[in-house]
């Protein structure tokens, strides 16, 4: 209990900070928007964001109410054009400083969260003072009310979540496109340097045979044998290339058997456990296959492991792949092993990789691919719970009554001085109360309509957004 009061004391002490920031902010904003001292605006905004971030952290620690930051992701650094100049709108700059500053300015001023923060900052002291009696009498409840108030203005909105998701998707799409282009170049090089060159050699040998066949059949025969061997080598080479593009077992049997085949070809003793309800989508299968392949070869080559286990299973709607080996451990993704490549590859599916590799082993790599199981990709929004459905129907079925007959029609009767009272309750009131009665009826009706619409429109939206958002929203 004492701790609660300490929290409340800290909360109120922060009032001083907030007031100080307000006192600092007002002149900064006035100067930046009326006197042209625009460089003050980003400073002021970042200052307010600091205070807001502090508030979010404290609220989370004290009440457990998590307030996701609502800010749009910062703009990427400016990219020079082909001529080395940096473009910002219709101006070219030699250095990236000005374009970067412009982008930053646009980023801050166009983010609604900047203004919501400001509204929060200005109103927060008043709210705190109003809440003081509640905080003192019921501290737990009071802190929670304060937390909900903070979340109202400091939390993420649907728009900000979607915006951050769009930027996340854009980044992963670019990564996926990049790695695909790199893959294509590698295949092109393999075919060009290997297969194509060998086929040219075979063609030349056959040309020589054509010339020799009449004069020196024995030499022609020897050359033919050479051509045959060369074609065999070409096929071996081509098989290697195909394995790198899409392993045949994967195409023929799916992920489980392809990983089993990998396990057999490994020099380690590998136990494979695959428990999936049905086959995954082909791109996911390929990504998981190459990831497991890379991890197993890492374990054998760098980790000197002798046994390994691969476990592929469903964790709810997600796919979880765990690869464990008894090697030396101490694997470090920063050291440029294949781990970062795997991470990039999984990134295209919002997948994440967790590595636990203490020196001395064992090494465990866990990969999670959210919503990777077929049929779970697009989750249907859950239906309204029955009580909500009933409430909405009841509201919509009755709301017309106070709005129209009891409200508007009674108002018309009153305006034109019609003497009939019929069943319009407000007209039975004493004359002084008739107008308030009519307005009350209309307000009640409109409120009932509003509540019905609000109930049905907000249901499931947050959960739906959460499900649609990537695991690491703010990375």
């Amino acid at each position: 209990m004492l701790r609660r009061y300490a929290h409340i004391a800290a909360l109120l002490a922060l009032l001083v900070v907030e007031v100080a920031v307000i006192v600092l902010s007002v002149p900064m904003l006035v100067l930046s928007f009326t006197m042209g001292l625009v460089f003050l605006f980003p400073w002021q905004t970042m200052l307010v964001r600091r205070v807001a971030a502090l508030n979010r952290r404290l609220v989370l620690g004290w009440t457990g109410v998590e307030i996701a930051p609502p800010y749009l992701p910062p703009p990427p650094p400016p990219v020079p054009q082909a001529d080395g100049m940096y473009r910002s709108d219709r101006t070219l700059y030699r250095t990236p400083r000005m374009p970067a500053w412009n982008n930053r300015w646009k980023w801050l001023i166009s983010d609604p969260a900047t203004w919501r923060d400001l509204i929060w900052l200005v109103t927060d002291p008043t709210v705190k003072i109003v809440l003081v009696p509640v905080l003192v009498l019921v501290p737990v409840r009071g802190l929670r009310i304060y937390a909900l108030w903070s979340r109202l203005l400091l939390g993420a909105t649907a728009a900000s979540r979607l915006a951050s998701q769009v930027s996340h998707l854009r980044r992963t799409r670019n990564l996926a496109a990049d790695s695909q282009a790199a893959e294509m170049r590698r295949i092109e090089r393999d075919l060009h340097d290997g297969t194509q060159a060998r086929l040219v050699a075979i063609g030349m040998t056959l040309g020589a045979v054509e010339q020799l066949v009449d004069q020196d059949p024995a030499a022609a025969k020897a050359l033919l044998a050479k051509a045959r061997d060369a074609s065999s080598e070409t096929l071996t080479e081509l098989r290697r290339v195909i394995r790198g593009i899409h392993p045949p077992v994967l195409a023929e049997r799916g992920l489980a058997d392809a990983v089993r085949a990998l396990a057999m070809d490994s020099s380690m003793r590998v136990t494979v456990d695959v428990d999936l309800p049905n086959r995954l989508e082909a791109p996911v299968e390929a990504a998981v296959y190459f990831a497991v392949s890379e991890l197993l070869s890492n374990a054998a080559r760098h980790g000197d492991a002798s046994t390994a286990t691969v476990d592929i299973s469903a964790a709810g709607p997600n796919l979880r792949v765990t690869v464990t080996d008894d090697g030396l451990g101490g694997a470090d993704p920063a050291k440029g092993s294949g781990l970062s490549g795997i991470e990039r590859r999984l990134g295209a599916f919002d997948g994440v990789l967790a590595l636990n590799s203490p020196p001395g082993g064992p090494t465990t790599v866990t990969m999670d691919l959210p919503w990777a199981l077929p049929g779970n990709g697009a989750r249907k929004p859950s239906r309204l719970p029955r009580w909500k459905t009933f409430t909405v129907i009841a509201l919509l079925a009755t709301a017309w009554c106070p709005t129209f007959p009891q409200g508007f029609v009674a108002a018309v009767f009153k305006i034109i001085g019609f003497d009939e009272k019929s069943w319009f309750l407000a007209l039975y009131l004493p004359p002084a109360w008739q107008w308030p009665g009519i307005i009350g009826m209309i307000t009640l009706g409109v409120a009932m309509h509003g509540l019905a619409i609000w109930l049905s429109s907000t249901h499931d939206r947050d959960r739906w957004l959460e499900a649609a958002s990537p695991a690491r929203l703010w990375c």
């Binding site: 058997d257 089993r260 057999m264 070809d265 020099s267 003793r269």
Partner: protein, 217 residues
């Protein structure tokens, strides 16, 4: 002579080539089919002396041929089948060998280039022997790299083991490694002793024992 052969291959050129090659070597082609269902029907109804089957066949173009071969051998154990593929996998080799009844082959399609060796493999399978692609054997041995008894073999013994695992008879091993019959017999005895296997005079049973040993890991 066991010379009734069935061919299952979806590429017309290769199918036609195989038909000509086998006919030139005295085989009579009883059926040349191009899809999985046709293959299974042909295997069960015609019971050919030997069948040459491509792994990937229509309609699914996955492992249709392999599945048909396994299904047919389940009903008719020991039905001689030589499986051809563009790539070889230990996984498939183990599935083919799992019933332990022999009369099975698993080769890369490239092996058709060498008609003599290919016909030899067909003949071995027809007679109840085994024909495993050198690449399968290499993979098997590679995945047995940490196997101590295997590591104890001399290089020469290892070569003999490889040839034996491919399904070759003593005579063929002699020719390939330029060894005398008695030297091969000596190496074989030594290999079996080192791996702890019971010696056998029968070529086919010997091959199956070696493959079972390599697969048991």
């Amino acid at each position: 002579m066991k010379n009734r052969v069935l061919i299952a291959e979806d590429l017309y050129l290769l199918r036609d080539g195989l038909v000509h090659l086998l006919q030139a070597h005295g085989y009579s082609v009883v059926a040349a089919v191009e899809s999985g269902p046709e293959l299974l029907k042909g295997l069960l109804e015609l019971r050919p002396d030997v069948s040459i089957v491509d792994v990937r066949l229509p309609p699914t173009f996955t492992d249709e041929g392999l599945q048909a071969a396994l299904a047919a051998r389940k009903q008719l154990p020991g039905l001689p089948i030589l499986v051809l593929s563009q790539h070889v996998e230990q996984l498939y080799a183990r599935e083919l060998l799992a019933d332990g009844s022999g009369a099975i082959g698993y080769l890369l399609k490239d092996r058709v280039f060498n008609a003599e060796q290919f016909i030899d493999a067909v003949r071995r399978v027809a007679e109840g022997g085994t024909a495993m692609d050198p690449e399968v054997i290499a993979k098997l041995l590679a995945s047995n790299a940490r196997n101590e008894p295997l590591a104890a073999l001399t290089p020469r013994e290892r070569e003999v083991l490889e040839a034996m695992a491919e399904g070759r008879s003593n005579t063929a091993i002699c020719q390939r490694l330029y060894l005398s019959e008695s030297a091969v017999a000596k190496h074989t005895a030594s290999i079996f002793a080192k791996l702890g296997l019971a010696p056998s005079d029968d070529d086919n049973r010997r091959v199956l024992a070696v493959l079972a040993y390599l697969n048991s890991r």
